[in-house]
Symmetry: C2
Subunit: 132 residues, 2 copies
DNA sequence: TCACAACGATTACGCTTGTAAACATTGCTG
DNA sequence: CAGCAATGTTTACAAGCGTAATCGTTGTGA
């Protein structure tokens, strides 16, 4: 195979906030054209189509999405999974603010009442399941 | 008076990553001079004293810290509490990535095994306490 | 066939961030 | 008293980001 076996330098080029908004659409749809992405986000963020195109280009450069030609346009689809991104971001936060201890994050959320009764029950259920 | 009396628009000017590193020192010490801050972070981040000074200035501008003259130098101290910052950042993450549902974050951490056995026990204990 | 519309690509531009050097002030030491 | 050293202030500058406008190409409808 041509793919060099060990060029996994894969340093996951940071995705910016605006870019992330675009990614969400692609994760949701799986695949979309620039116009379709715009339909979803341009209202919300008061963007123009041009802005969306710029963001898509940057995401391609960063290796976060890929393009497939579809007639005269491109269809864009994610190359990295949402879970991967979410995991990375969560980890960054936990590392930066909680010394890497995820439990500290949870503790903080609980203390500051960022967790509702429902949240607490939900987590409790989750724990039970994980522990069985 | 030239200083407008009611500019308490207190929108908490975003603290950048590098600035945050400086804040951590101030939160830890309570108060410190530029040189003292540098002693703590300049090794770790390979910064020069000049860099620390810039960051301190920016933090002052942003209203995140205050200065008190101490002889020929300044002592810097935090104006916002660490908990406040941490809470804000956590909330931002939860809003952006988990639709505002903190429980989803916890679920994600659990699923991706970002939570160790110890973490889980800890959280469990926490929950019990909160529910008393 | 020809202007136009739909696209991606290129270029733009001001703001923030990271990282610092240069400058100005001033207490201190020889 | 004259430099020097320590300190804050000002200026710098490249990269990244948010937000687009403009350019170039090409399928399409009149």
């Amino acid at each position: 195979m041509t793919k060099s076996p060990d060029n996994n330098a894969e340093k996951p080029e940071r995705i910016s906030e605006a870019e992330h908004a675009v990614m969400e659409v692609l994760w949701d749809r799986g695949t979309a054209s620039a116009a379709q992405v715009c339909e979803v986000v341009c209202q919300k963020r008061e963007w123009s189509l041009a802005t969306v195109k710029t963001l898509l280009s940057r995401l391609v450069q960063k290796g976060a999405i890929e393009t497939r030609p579809d007639g005269r346009r491109f269809l864009y689809s994610p190359l990295i999974a949402r879970a991967e991104y979410v995991g990375g971001e969560s980890r960054r936060l936990v590392d930066r603010l909680f010394g890497g201890k995820a439990a500290s994050l949870v503790a903080h959320l609980a203390e500051t009442e960022a967790l509702s009764e429902d949240d607490l029950s939900e987590i409790e259920a989750l724990l039970k399941e994980l522990k069985q």
